[in-house]
């Protein structure tokens, strides 16, 4: 079976031209307005003790010190990291598998696309609401089936493992379609001759996947992995609706803790510092992912 040659990297062929800045300008302006200005406000909060809008004291990095030593923050961090890791391990292979088995031509293409994409289109609080009922043992189909058909005593409001599983299953249900859609678009971009060549070589389905499809999917999978990592690391609405972070602290992720501090207790200073640290952690982790993923194939 013939190996597919990697094309020369696009970067090697790029022309150097600083006038390209003009093309990027609209994006820079829009991002400055939507991201940079608000972020400055957060930085402002994080170094002050805010009693009310007119009464503030500069406290330097005190809040950062306090937040980074807080055991509750630390355990939420570990919990969130674990959750993201599980999400990636489950959703990426599942999404790719789904994309591979989705039909390529014919009337079923549209039907399959719409069906797969449906969970993505439900507002996040509604996803939470659906699963909140769905997983209930007394009136929800999912919970009822687990309790009565499989005979397992499942109750996500009392058992922390069950709560974790509920949130994880919900996330897999909600977001695997995103991976599948991206992977599907990536698969569609593989020119037909590659498959014909594989057929002539009598390559098995697995060999075709391993040597033709997978390498070609690297670009979209990079997007998928990063997106899924970021979003699962910042997950808020769905677990909040389903379990409210409980039972106990079983599903209180970083974002839930953050909003407790910011909105619940209205501690703007610590909340600002927490936000920035959180933001920084996400960035560092993404940078690591980004570098590893883009370099690995060279």
């Amino acid at each position: 079976m013939s190996e597919v040659q990697e094309e020369p990297r696009a970067a090697d062929l790029k022309r150097k031209d600083n006038r390209a800045w003009w093309l990027v300008l609209p994006v820079v302006v829009s991002v400055a307005f939507t991201a940079v200005i608000p972020l400055m406000t957060v930085v402002n909060f994080s170094v002050q003790d805010v009693f009310n809008p007119n009464d503030r004291i500069f406290v330097g990095l005190d809040w950062f010190r306090e937040i980074s030593r807080d055991p509750e923050v630390r355990s939420a961090f570990v919990r969130t990291l674990l959750f993201s890791a599980q999400v990636l391990l489950l959703e990426i292979p599942l999404g790719v598998a789904l994309a591979v088995v989705m039909p390529r031509r014919g009337v079923w293409v549209s039907v399959a696309l719409v069906l797969v994409a449906l969970p993505l289109l439900i507002p996040w609080n509604v996803v939470g609401t659906i699963w909140q009922i769905f997983a209930r043992g007394d009136i929800g189909l999912g919970g009822w089936a687990v309790n009565n058909v499989l005979g397992i005593n499942f109750n996500y409001t009392l058992d922390s493992t069950d709560a974790w599983i509920t949130v994880l299953v919900m996330d897999v249900w909600h977001w695997t379609p995103l991976v599948a859609l991206l992977a599907y678009a990536g698969l569609r971009s593989i020119p037909e001759p590659y498959f014909q060549a594989a057929q002539i070589d009598a390559a098995s389905a697995w060999a075709t996947f391993r040597h033709i499809q997978l390498p070609r999917l690297r670009g979209v999978l990079t997007i998928a992995i990063l997106l899924r990592f970021m979003d699962s690391f910042m997950i808020y609405t769905e677990p909040f609706v389903v379990t409210g972070g409980g039972p106990g602290n079983a599903t209180s992720f970083l974002s839930i803790l953050l909003s407790k501090i910011a909105v619940g207790q209205f501690d703007l200073g610590p909340a600002g510092a927490f936000s920035l640290l959180y933001f920084l952690i996400v960035q560092i982790l993404c940078y690591v992912f980004f570098t590893v993923l883009t370099r690995s194939g060279r």
Binding site: V27, I37, S110, W124, G219, T237, L254, Q283
Partner: protein, 250 residues
Amino acid sequence: MLPLLWMFGMSIRPNEDILGSFSLIPQRVTFDNYATFFSDSSWYSSYLNSIIYTSMNAVMSLVVALPAAYAFSRFRFAGDKHLFFWLLTNRMAPPAVFLLPFFQIYQSVGLFDTHLGVAIAHMLFNVPLAVWILEGFMSGIPREIDETAAIDGYSLPRFFIRIFLPMIRSAIGVTLFFCFMFSWVELLIARTITSVNAKPIAATMTRTVSAAGVDWALLATAGVLTIVPGAIVIWFVRNYIAKGFTMGRV
């Protein structure tokens, strides 16, 4: 699919039946919930609000992102890699971080509670995403095409509109879909910077929790209806996702 069917099942039966006992098949089928939805202006107007700002956002994000994605895929320029990564970092910011600042800024510049305001706010995460997706697809198109067009006497804007855009139709379809989707399902920011005029449907849904308990049936109805616009959008872009990209054929 099961949870969705389940939700649809809930939307066509009265509340008492949902809470009464477990049953797979609805005993009494009713469309009262749908009637309530379309006769109550707070429901259907927030539904329209969501559609308006989501569409505005998708178009605005695309227009801003197209030239930038082209620049990233075709040219090397000072600071390009840093800029690209910096754009992505905005996609990573937890929305909770932005709530308070957005609230203050939007009130001071008069964008509070307007469709345009929400559309602009959602560009925060959609523009980086759009640039990212488009860049990926554009890089898949051989540079020879740009060069041939330049030799044939096409200026850059004319080449871009007449030749390049049609070639990346599928990428545009995919991008529009993702922008629409992320803006449609976002609740935290949209709820914070609106009150009445541009209130999103997802925020209206939280209202069903009243003194009498949660109106599950009406909530399920709204849930079913929130899927409809997205399903229509996918239906329209399905060919772009499915047709594959021209690069195999040129």
